[in-house]
Symmetry: C2
Subunit: 244 residues, 2 copies
Protein backbone atom coordinates (compact mmCIF):
# COMPACT_ATOMS: atom_id res chain seq x y z
CA UNK A 1 0.00 0.00 0.00
CA UNK A 2 1.35 3.42 -0.97
CA UNK A 3 0.58 6.16 1.53
CA UNK A 4 -0.39 9.61 0.26
CA UNK A 5 0.84 12.55 2.33
CA UNK A 6 -0.91 15.90 1.96
CA UNK A 7 0.85 19.03 3.15
CA UNK A 8 1.63 22.57 1.99
CA UNK A 9 4.29 22.77 -0.67
CA UNK A 10 7.46 24.77 -0.11
CA UNK A 11 8.04 24.26 3.60
CA UNK A 12 8.94 21.32 5.87
CA UNK A 13 6.42 22.38 8.54
CA UNK A 14 4.44 19.81 10.48
CA UNK A 15 4.51 17.46 7.48
CA UNK A 16 8.19 16.87 8.11
CA UNK A 17 7.50 14.80 11.24
CA UNK A 18 5.49 12.38 9.09
CA UNK A 19 8.02 12.42 6.23
CA UNK A 20 10.88 11.50 8.55
CA UNK A 21 8.99 8.43 9.80
CA UNK A 22 8.09 7.32 6.26
CA UNK A 23 11.66 7.90 5.06
CA UNK A 24 13.31 6.08 7.96
CA UNK A 25 11.03 3.07 7.39
CA UNK A 26 11.61 3.13 3.64
CA UNK A 27 7.82 3.18 3.16
CA UNK A 28 6.23 3.83 -0.23
CA UNK A 29 4.56 7.24 -0.20
CA UNK A 30 3.56 10.05 -2.50
CA UNK A 31 4.06 13.66 -1.39
CA UNK A 32 0.91 14.96 -3.06
CA UNK A 33 1.34 18.72 -2.71
CA UNK A 34 4.72 18.58 -4.45
CA UNK A 35 3.09 17.18 -7.60
CA UNK A 36 1.44 19.15 -10.39
CA UNK A 37 -1.93 20.43 -9.09
CA UNK A 38 -1.19 18.71 -5.79
CA UNK A 39 -2.17 21.68 -3.63
CA UNK A 40 -5.48 21.98 -5.49
CA UNK A 41 -6.20 18.31 -4.84
CA UNK A 42 -5.39 18.80 -1.17
CA UNK A 43 -7.71 21.78 -0.85
CA UNK A 44 -10.50 19.89 -2.64
CA UNK A 45 -10.43 17.18 0.04
CA UNK A 46 -10.36 19.76 2.85
CA UNK A 47 -13.30 21.70 1.43
CA UNK A 48 -15.38 18.68 0.50
CA UNK A 49 -18.72 18.40 2.29
CA UNK A 50 -17.91 15.13 4.00
CA UNK A 51 -17.67 14.08 7.63
CA UNK A 52 -14.03 13.00 7.36
CA UNK A 53 -12.69 16.14 5.66
CA UNK A 54 -9.66 17.18 7.72
CA UNK A 55 -9.41 20.51 9.51
CA UNK A 56 -5.86 21.22 8.36
CA UNK A 57 -2.78 19.63 6.79
CA UNK A 58 -0.85 17.47 7.25
CA UNK A 59 -3.13 14.54 6.53
CA UNK A 60 -2.43 11.07 5.25
CA UNK A 61 -4.52 8.79 3.10
CA UNK A 62 -4.17 5.07 3.61
CA UNK A 63 -6.60 3.67 1.07
CA UNK A 64 -9.95 5.29 1.89
CA UNK A 65 -8.96 6.26 5.41
CA UNK A 66 -8.05 9.92 5.96
CA UNK A 67 -5.89 10.62 9.03
CA UNK A 68 -5.23 14.15 10.24
CA UNK A 69 -3.29 15.78 13.09
CA UNK A 70 0.43 15.00 13.08
CA UNK A 71 0.56 13.04 16.34
CA UNK A 72 -2.52 11.05 15.33
CA UNK A 73 -0.98 10.15 11.97
CA UNK A 74 2.18 8.97 13.71
CA UNK A 75 0.25 7.00 16.33
CA UNK A 76 -1.39 5.14 13.44
CA UNK A 77 1.78 4.72 11.38
CA UNK A 78 4.17 3.89 14.24
CA UNK A 79 3.42 0.18 14.61
CA UNK A 80 3.00 -0.26 10.84
CA UNK A 81 6.43 1.25 10.18
CA UNK A 82 8.20 -0.51 13.05
CA UNK A 83 8.72 2.82 14.81
CA UNK A 84 6.64 2.32 17.97
CA UNK A 85 7.12 0.21 21.10
CA UNK A 86 5.20 -3.02 21.64
CA UNK A 87 3.28 -2.21 24.81
CA UNK A 88 0.10 -0.16 24.87
CA UNK A 89 1.35 1.90 27.81
CA UNK A 90 4.57 2.87 26.04
CA UNK A 91 2.68 3.69 22.86
CA UNK A 92 0.54 6.13 24.80
CA UNK A 93 3.62 7.60 26.42
CA UNK A 94 5.11 8.09 22.96
CA UNK A 95 1.85 9.68 21.81
CA UNK A 96 1.94 12.11 24.75
CA UNK A 97 5.53 13.01 23.83
CA UNK A 98 4.56 13.67 20.21
CA UNK A 99 1.68 15.89 21.37
CA UNK A 100 4.03 17.82 23.66
CA UNK A 101 6.42 18.30 20.73
CA UNK A 102 3.41 19.57 18.75
CA UNK A 103 2.61 22.03 21.52
CA UNK A 104 6.16 23.37 21.37
CA UNK A 105 5.96 23.61 17.58
CA UNK A 106 2.80 25.72 17.91
CA UNK A 107 4.55 27.98 20.41
CA UNK A 108 7.55 28.30 18.05
CA UNK A 109 5.12 29.33 15.30
CA UNK A 110 3.45 31.85 17.55
CA UNK A 111 6.75 33.64 18.19
CA UNK A 112 6.37 35.19 14.72
CA UNK A 113 2.55 35.14 14.67
CA UNK A 114 1.42 35.96 18.21
CA UNK A 115 -1.64 37.99 17.15
CA UNK A 116 -3.10 36.33 14.06
CA UNK A 117 -2.06 33.65 11.59
CA UNK A 118 -3.89 35.66 8.93
CA UNK A 119 -1.69 38.76 9.33
CA UNK A 120 1.83 39.24 8.04
CA UNK A 121 4.72 39.00 10.46
CA UNK A 122 5.51 42.66 9.73
CA UNK A 123 2.07 43.61 11.11
CA UNK A 124 2.72 42.00 14.51
CA UNK A 125 6.41 42.58 15.04
CA UNK A 126 6.33 44.33 18.45
CA UNK A 127 4.12 41.55 19.84
CA UNK A 128 6.39 38.96 18.20
CA UNK A 129 9.46 40.38 19.93
CA UNK A 130 7.80 40.13 23.34
CA UNK A 131 6.51 36.62 22.73
CA UNK A 132 9.83 35.41 21.29
CA UNK A 133 11.73 36.73 24.32
CA UNK A 134 9.51 34.65 26.59
CA UNK A 135 9.85 31.63 24.31
CA UNK A 136 13.64 31.85 24.36
CA UNK A 137 14.04 32.42 28.09
CA UNK A 138 11.14 30.45 29.62
CA UNK A 139 9.61 28.00 27.16
CA UNK A 140 12.70 26.53 25.44
CA UNK A 141 14.28 25.44 28.74
CA UNK A 142 10.95 24.21 30.14
CA UNK A 143 10.30 21.93 27.16
CA UNK A 144 13.88 20.83 26.51
CA UNK A 145 14.62 20.10 30.18
CA UNK A 146 11.60 17.80 30.08
CA UNK A 147 12.72 15.98 26.93
CA UNK A 148 16.28 15.71 28.26
CA UNK A 149 14.94 14.09 31.42
CA UNK A 150 12.99 11.56 29.35
CA UNK A 151 16.30 10.54 27.76
CA UNK A 152 18.48 10.60 30.88
CA UNK A 153 15.90 8.72 32.96
CA UNK A 154 15.11 6.10 30.32
CA UNK A 155 15.80 2.76 32.07
CA UNK A 156 16.97 1.36 28.70
CA UNK A 157 19.54 4.17 28.29
CA UNK A 158 19.65 7.65 26.78
CA UNK A 159 20.02 6.50 23.16
CA UNK A 160 16.24 6.48 22.71
CA UNK A 161 13.46 8.56 24.19
CA UNK A 162 11.13 5.61 24.80
CA UNK A 163 12.26 2.05 25.37
CA UNK A 164 15.29 0.37 23.82
CA UNK A 165 14.67 0.91 20.12
CA UNK A 166 14.30 3.76 17.65
CA UNK A 167 10.78 5.23 17.56
CA UNK A 168 9.17 8.14 15.75
CA UNK A 169 9.66 10.07 18.99
CA UNK A 170 13.43 10.05 18.40
CA UNK A 171 12.96 11.26 14.82
CA UNK A 172 10.60 14.02 15.98
CA UNK A 173 12.94 15.23 18.73
CA UNK A 174 15.71 15.39 16.13
CA UNK A 175 13.58 17.56 13.86
CA UNK A 176 12.42 19.77 16.71
CA UNK A 177 16.05 20.43 17.68
CA UNK A 178 16.98 21.13 14.06
CA UNK A 179 14.16 23.66 13.85
CA UNK A 180 15.10 25.39 17.10
CA UNK A 181 18.75 25.68 16.05
CA UNK A 182 17.68 27.07 12.68
CA UNK A 183 15.30 29.67 14.12
CA UNK A 184 17.14 30.62 17.31
CA UNK A 185 20.86 29.90 16.74
CA UNK A 186 22.09 32.53 19.19
CA UNK A 187 19.72 31.50 21.96
CA UNK A 188 20.40 27.79 21.50
CA UNK A 189 24.18 28.34 21.44
CA UNK A 190 23.94 30.39 24.62
CA UNK A 191 22.40 27.41 26.42
CA UNK A 192 25.67 25.55 25.82
CA UNK A 193 25.76 21.91 26.87
CA UNK A 194 22.56 22.00 28.91
CA UNK A 195 20.92 19.17 26.93
CA UNK A 196 23.71 16.68 26.06
CA UNK A 197 21.47 13.68 25.41
CA UNK A 198 19.14 15.65 23.16
CA UNK A 199 22.07 17.01 21.14
CA UNK A 200 23.56 13.51 20.82
CA UNK A 201 20.19 12.20 19.64
CA UNK A 202 19.91 15.02 17.13
CA UNK A 203 23.26 14.07 15.58
CA UNK A 204 22.65 10.32 15.75
CA UNK A 205 19.33 10.53 13.91
CA UNK A 206 20.91 12.70 11.18
CA UNK A 207 23.42 9.94 10.51
CA UNK A 208 20.95 7.06 10.21
CA UNK A 209 21.49 5.81 6.65
CA UNK A 210 17.92 6.40 5.44
CA UNK A 211 17.69 9.81 7.09
CA UNK A 212 21.13 10.86 5.84
CA UNK A 213 20.12 9.88 2.28
CA UNK A 214 16.85 11.77 2.63
CA UNK A 215 18.58 14.90 3.88
CA UNK A 216 20.63 15.26 0.72
CA UNK A 217 17.72 14.32 -1.59
CA UNK A 218 15.42 16.77 -3.32
CA UNK A 219 12.50 15.23 -1.43
CA UNK A 220 13.59 17.30 1.53
CA UNK A 221 12.54 20.94 1.68
CA UNK A 222 15.01 23.07 3.67
CA UNK A 223 13.86 25.32 6.50
CA UNK A 224 12.83 28.75 5.26
CA UNK A 225 10.86 31.82 6.29
CA UNK A 226 7.51 30.39 5.15
CA UNK A 227 7.84 27.65 7.73
CA UNK A 228 7.01 27.27 11.40
CA UNK A 229 10.67 27.66 12.30
CA UNK A 230 11.78 31.03 10.91
CA UNK A 231 15.10 32.69 11.39
CA UNK A 232 14.42 36.34 12.15
CA UNK A 233 17.49 37.67 14.01
CA UNK A 234 15.37 40.13 16.02
CA UNK A 235 13.36 37.19 17.43
CA UNK A 236 16.60 35.46 18.36
CA UNK A 237 17.43 38.35 20.68
CA UNK A 238 19.68 40.23 18.27
CA UNK A 239 19.36 44.02 18.06
CA UNK A 240 18.71 44.76 14.41
CA UNK A 241 18.15 48.47 14.90
CA UNK A 242 15.08 48.56 12.67
CA UNK A 243 11.98 50.50 13.56
CA UNK A 244 8.88 48.61 14.48
Amino acid sequence: MTYALYYWDGLPGRGEFVRLALEQAGAAYIDIARRQDGTDRMLEIMEDDRADAPFAPPFLKDGDLILSQTANILFYLGPRLGLAPESEGERHRLNALQMTIADMVTEAHDTHHPVATGLYYEDQKPEAKRRAADFRTARIPKFLDHFERMLSANPAGPQHVIGHALSYGDLSLHHLLEGLHYAFPQAMTAYGARWPHLEALRTRVASLPNIAAYRVSDRRIPFNESCIFRHYPELDGIETGDDE
Copy 2:
Protein backbone atom coordinates in the same frame (compact mmCIF):
# COMPACT_ATOMS: atom_id res chain seq x y z
CA MET B 1 -9.84 -0.15 39.11
CA THR B 2 -10.19 3.42 40.35
CA TYR B 3 -8.65 6.02 38.07
CA ALA B 4 -6.76 8.94 39.62
CA LEU B 5 -7.10 12.26 37.80
CA TYR B 6 -4.49 14.95 38.42
CA TYR B 7 -5.27 18.53 37.50
CA TRP B 8 -5.03 22.03 38.92
CA ASP B 9 -7.57 22.76 41.63
CA GLY B 10 -10.03 25.61 41.28
CA LEU B 11 -10.68 25.57 37.53
CA PRO B 12 -12.35 23.20 35.06
CA GLY B 13 -9.62 23.72 32.44
CA ARG B 14 -8.41 20.86 30.29
CA GLY B 15 -9.16 18.40 33.09
CA GLU B 16 -12.87 18.92 32.46
CA PHE B 17 -12.74 17.00 29.18
CA VAL B 18 -11.53 13.95 31.09
CA ARG B 19 -13.97 14.48 33.97
CA LEU B 20 -16.94 14.57 31.61
CA ALA B 21 -16.00 11.21 30.11
CA LEU B 22 -15.48 9.62 33.53
CA GLU B 23 -18.76 11.09 34.82
CA GLN B 24 -20.81 10.04 31.80
CA ALA B 25 -19.47 6.48 32.09
CA GLY B 26 -20.05 6.38 35.84
CA ALA B 27 -16.42 5.35 36.29
CA ALA B 28 -14.76 5.25 39.70
CA TYR B 29 -12.19 8.03 39.93
CA ILE B 30 -10.46 10.27 42.42
CA ASP B 31 -9.90 13.93 41.61
CA ILE B 32 -6.54 14.16 43.36
CA ALA B 33 -5.88 17.90 43.33
CA ARG B 34 -9.18 18.58 45.10
CA ARG B 35 -8.06 16.54 48.11
CA GLN B 36 -5.96 17.71 51.01
CA ASP B 37 -2.34 18.10 49.77
CA GLY B 38 -3.50 16.92 46.35
CA THR B 39 -1.69 19.65 44.44
CA ASP B 40 1.55 18.85 46.28
CA ARG B 41 1.19 15.20 45.32
CA MET B 42 0.60 16.19 41.70
CA LEU B 43 3.68 18.41 41.60
CA GLU B 44 5.79 15.68 43.19
CA ILE B 45 5.00 13.32 40.30
CA MET B 46 5.70 16.02 37.71
CA GLU B 47 9.04 16.94 39.26
CA ASP B 48 10.19 13.39 39.91
CA ASP B 49 13.33 12.32 38.07
CA ARG B 50 11.66 9.56 36.10
CA ALA B 51 11.16 8.90 32.41
CA ASP B 52 7.38 8.89 32.64
CA ALA B 53 6.94 12.13 34.61
CA PRO B 54 4.36 14.15 32.68
CA PHE B 55 5.08 17.55 31.16
CA ALA B 56 1.85 19.13 32.41
CA PRO B 57 -1.57 18.36 33.87
CA PRO B 58 -4.02 16.87 33.27
CA PHE B 59 -2.67 13.39 33.73
CA LEU B 60 -4.35 10.17 34.72
CA LYS B 61 -3.01 7.24 36.67
CA ASP B 62 -4.38 3.79 35.88
CA GLY B 63 -2.46 1.58 38.26
CA ASP B 64 1.21 2.24 37.53
CA LEU B 65 0.57 3.73 34.11
CA ILE B 66 0.73 7.52 33.86
CA LEU B 67 -1.11 9.03 30.89
CA SER B 68 -0.74 12.69 29.97
CA GLN B 69 -2.07 15.03 27.27
CA THR B 70 -5.87 15.34 27.27
CA ALA B 71 -6.52 13.75 23.86
CA ASN B 72 -4.14 10.92 24.67
CA ILE B 73 -5.91 10.22 27.98
CA LEU B 74 -9.26 10.11 26.19
CA PHE B 75 -7.92 7.90 23.38
CA TYR B 76 -6.90 5.43 26.11
CA LEU B 77 -10.09 5.77 28.16
CA GLY B 78 -12.58 5.87 25.28
CA PRO B 79 -12.90 2.13 24.59
CA ARG B 80 -12.68 1.30 28.31
CA LEU B 81 -15.55 3.66 29.12
CA GLY B 82 -17.70 2.69 26.14
CA LEU B 83 -17.26 6.16 24.67
CA ALA B 84 -15.36 5.35 21.45
CA PRO B 85 -16.38 3.72 18.17
CA GLU B 86 -15.44 0.14 17.35
CA SER B 87 -13.34 0.60 14.24
CA GLU B 88 -9.71 1.67 14.30
CA GLY B 89 -10.29 4.23 11.56
CA GLU B 90 -13.13 5.93 13.43
CA ARG B 91 -11.12 5.93 16.64
CA HIS B 92 -8.34 7.80 14.88
CA ARG B 93 -10.88 10.22 13.42
CA LEU B 94 -12.20 10.82 16.93
CA ASN B 95 -8.66 11.34 18.17
CA ALA B 96 -8.02 13.92 15.43
CA LEU B 97 -11.22 15.72 16.46
CA GLN B 98 -10.14 15.79 20.11
CA MET B 99 -6.75 17.20 19.10
CA THR B 100 -8.42 19.88 17.00
CA ILE B 101 -10.61 20.79 19.98
CA ALA B 102 -7.39 21.00 22.03
CA ASP B 103 -5.90 23.35 19.44
CA MET B 104 -8.92 25.62 19.73
CA VAL B 105 -8.71 25.49 23.54
CA THR B 106 -5.08 26.65 23.34
CA GLU B 107 -6.10 29.50 21.05
CA ALA B 108 -8.91 30.47 23.46
CA HIS B 109 -6.33 30.55 26.25
CA ASP B 110 -3.97 32.66 24.19
CA THR B 111 -6.63 35.36 23.72
CA HIS B 112 -5.88 36.46 27.31
CA HIS B 113 -2.23 35.33 27.31
CA PRO B 114 -0.85 36.07 23.84
CA VAL B 115 2.62 37.06 25.03
CA ALA B 116 3.52 34.83 27.95
CA THR B 117 1.74 32.36 30.22
CA GLY B 118 4.03 33.54 33.01
CA LEU B 119 2.80 37.15 32.87
CA TYR B 120 -0.46 38.53 34.24
CA TYR B 121 -3.28 39.30 31.84
CA GLU B 122 -2.99 42.95 32.86
CA ASP B 123 0.58 42.99 31.52
CA GLN B 124 -0.45 41.92 28.02
CA LYS B 125 -3.84 43.56 27.57
CA PRO B 126 -3.20 45.48 24.33
CA GLU B 127 -1.86 42.32 22.69
CA ALA B 128 -4.78 40.35 24.13
CA LYS B 129 -7.31 42.71 22.55
CA ARG B 130 -5.74 42.26 19.12
CA ARG B 131 -5.51 38.50 19.44
CA ALA B 132 -9.06 38.16 20.81
CA ALA B 133 -10.47 40.20 17.92
CA ASP B 134 -8.89 37.77 15.47
CA PHE B 135 -10.11 34.80 17.50
CA ARG B 136 -13.69 36.08 17.51
CA THR B 137 -13.86 37.01 13.84
CA ALA B 138 -11.62 34.45 12.13
CA ARG B 139 -10.86 31.49 14.37
CA ILE B 140 -14.25 30.80 16.01
CA PRO B 141 -16.04 30.47 12.63
CA LYS B 142 -13.20 28.46 11.11
CA PHE B 143 -13.23 25.88 13.89
CA LEU B 144 -17.00 25.78 14.48
CA ASP B 145 -17.85 25.58 10.78
CA HIS B 146 -15.61 22.52 10.66
CA PHE B 147 -17.23 20.85 13.67
CA GLU B 148 -20.71 21.69 12.37
CA ARG B 149 -19.85 20.02 9.07
CA MET B 150 -18.72 16.90 10.91
CA LEU B 151 -22.21 16.72 12.45
CA SER B 152 -24.24 17.63 9.37
CA ALA B 153 -22.27 15.27 7.11
CA ASN B 154 -22.28 12.35 9.54
CA PRO B 155 -23.86 9.48 7.55
CA ALA B 156 -25.42 8.21 10.79
CA GLY B 157 -27.09 11.57 11.44
CA PRO B 158 -26.22 14.82 13.24
CA GLN B 159 -26.95 13.53 16.76
CA HIS B 160 -23.34 12.43 17.17
CA VAL B 161 -20.08 13.74 15.82
CA ILE B 162 -18.66 10.31 14.97
CA GLY B 163 -20.74 7.26 14.10
CA HIS B 164 -24.16 6.38 15.55
CA ALA B 165 -23.44 6.45 19.28
CA LEU B 166 -22.31 8.87 21.96
CA SER B 167 -18.52 9.27 22.15
CA TYR B 168 -16.18 11.45 24.16
CA GLY B 169 -16.08 13.69 21.08
CA ASP B 170 -19.70 14.70 21.72
CA LEU B 171 -18.95 15.44 25.37
CA SER B 172 -15.89 17.50 24.42
CA LEU B 173 -17.75 19.54 21.80
CA HIS B 174 -20.40 20.27 24.43
CA HIS B 175 -17.78 21.56 26.84
CA LEU B 176 -16.01 23.58 24.17
CA LEU B 177 -19.29 25.32 23.29
CA GLU B 178 -20.02 25.96 26.95
CA GLY B 179 -16.62 27.57 27.33
CA LEU B 180 -16.99 29.74 24.26
CA HIS B 181 -20.42 30.96 25.36
CA TYR B 182 -19.04 31.70 28.82
CA ALA B 183 -16.02 33.66 27.57
CA PHE B 184 -17.46 35.35 24.48
CA PRO B 185 -21.24 35.64 25.03
CA GLN B 186 -21.66 38.69 22.80
CA ALA B 187 -19.63 37.27 19.94
CA MET B 188 -21.34 33.88 20.12
CA THR B 189 -24.80 35.46 20.26
CA ALA B 190 -23.96 37.61 17.24
CA TYR B 191 -23.30 34.47 15.20
CA GLY B 192 -26.96 33.57 15.69
CA ALA B 193 -28.08 30.19 14.33
CA ARG B 194 -24.94 29.54 12.28
CA TRP B 195 -24.20 26.21 14.02
CA PRO B 196 -27.57 24.54 14.72
CA HIS B 197 -26.28 20.98 15.10
CA LEU B 198 -23.53 22.05 17.47
CA GLU B 199 -25.98 24.01 19.63
CA ALA B 200 -28.40 21.06 19.68
CA LEU B 201 -25.56 18.76 20.71
CA ARG B 202 -24.52 21.18 23.44
CA THR B 203 -28.03 21.09 24.95
CA ARG B 204 -28.50 17.36 24.46
CA VAL B 205 -25.28 16.46 26.28
CA ALA B 206 -26.20 18.78 29.19
CA SER B 207 -29.39 16.79 29.68
CA LEU B 208 -27.84 13.31 29.70
CA PRO B 209 -28.75 11.98 33.18
CA ASN B 210 -25.17 11.44 34.37
CA ILE B 211 -23.97 14.76 33.01
CA ALA B 212 -27.00 16.64 34.38
CA ALA B 213 -26.34 15.13 37.83
CA TYR B 214 -22.66 16.04 37.61
CA ARG B 215 -23.44 19.62 36.63
CA VAL B 216 -25.32 20.28 39.84
CA SER B 217 -22.85 18.40 42.03
CA ASP B 218 -19.96 19.96 43.93
CA ARG B 219 -17.56 17.81 41.89
CA ARG B 220 -17.99 20.32 39.12
CA ILE B 221 -15.95 23.53 39.23
CA PRO B 222 -17.70 26.41 37.45
CA PHE B 223 -15.95 28.49 34.81
CA ASN B 224 -14.00 31.37 36.31
CA GLU B 225 -11.22 33.83 35.49
CA SER B 226 -8.44 31.42 36.49
CA CYS B 227 -9.50 29.10 33.70
CA ILE B 228 -8.76 28.80 30.00
CA PHE B 229 -12.15 30.28 29.17
CA ARG B 230 -12.28 33.70 30.85
CA HIS B 231 -15.00 36.27 30.54
CA TYR B 232 -13.31 39.63 30.05
CA PRO B 233 -15.84 41.92 28.33
CA GLU B 234 -13.10 43.83 26.50
CA LEU B 235 -11.98 40.57 24.85
CA ASP B 236 -15.57 39.89 23.82
CA GLY B 237 -15.51 43.08 21.74
CA ILE B 238 -17.19 45.31 24.32
CA GLU B 239 -15.84 48.82 24.82
CA THR B 240 -15.04 49.08 28.51
CA GLY B 241 -13.44 52.50 28.29
CA ASP B 242 -10.52 51.55 30.51
CA ASP B 243 -7.00 52.60 29.72
CA GLU B 244 -4.52 50.03 28.66
